[in-house]
Amino acid sequence: MEAVSQQIPLEHFLVLSAILFSIGVYGVLTRRNAVLILMSVELMLNAASINMVAFAAYASPAAFTGIIFAIFIITIAAAEVGLALAIILRIFRNRGTANVDEVDALKW
């Protein structure tokens, strides 16, 4: 373990993470194509990962739990993408579209 100083305050990483997260939220809310929504979700996951790693590096260097968490996040994200894409494929096959606002059978 060695200490390095890069004169970048922790807040910078956190603000970057917040911006990326909000962009991801915007994408989830506006995109029609389910695959694009999934991409926006990946943006949000990455933003969270940045948060974790930044806290691990600055706040608890001895335990570096944040980094371990980031690894798990990537693992789960991979699983999630596989499953979600399979579901999207199935929806597309059944209903002929991958646009979420056209899949609205669950209503009155």
Binding site: G27, T30, L36, S40, P61, F64
Partner: protein, 171 residues
């Protein structure tokens, strides 16, 4: 402004640009390519945070495998060449809400006291320590994660498989 700071701002700008491209691009393939850009930029952020291993994983899995998978999905779900509206009708409200969310998060970050932010000193974690922690301290979660991955894989195959019965049913 140090070199490291300069590199951070460049990488951060790239990440934000990639993110905006993902949510704004009118072409789905462009959006996927913008996602690769954003993910690579995040890998750069990991390097700045002295987590080279994580950066490696990010590039290999995200930028490589996941994005390629998405491109395949885009290809499989394309409906002809009809020009499509890419953005839903609720985008103005979504923009307001997202901006509000960003404002709130940034305000929170700015008004809080964070440990270790005085001199910007971080600790580099060697690969060996990381590996040891992952396979000793975190062995059980690691195994569970691998199980989840396996099940997700099986589920994805079951869901995506093109069965004859299903075709009949859907017709």
């Amino acid at each position: 402004m140090t070199v490291a700071q300069l590199i951070f701002y460049v990488i951060a700008a790239l990440a934000v640009a990639g993110g905006l491209g993902v949510v704004l691009a009118r072409n789905t393939v462009y959006a996927a390519l913008f996602l690769i850009l954003a993910l690579l930029a995040v890998a750069g952020v990991y390097i700045l945070l002295a987590s080279e291993f994580l950066a490696l994983v990010q590039v290999l899995i995200y930028a490589g495998a996941v994005t390629v998978l998405m491109l395949f999905a885009l290809m499989l779900t394309r409906v002809g060449d009809l020009p499509e509206t890419m953005t839903g009708a609720q985008w103005p409200l979504a923009a307001v809400v997202s901006s509000l969310l960003m404002g709130l998060l940034v305000t929170t970050v700015a008004t809080s006291d964070w440990p270790g932010d005085a001199d910007g000193t971080i600790t580099r974690i060697p690969f060996e320590q990381l590996g040891e922690a992952l396979f000793r301290q975190w062995a059980v979660p690691f195994e569970i994660a691998s199980l989840v991955l396996l099940i997700a894989l099986v589920g994805a195959i079951v869901l995506a498989r093109d069965e004859d019965d299903d075709v009949e049913e859907s017709e």
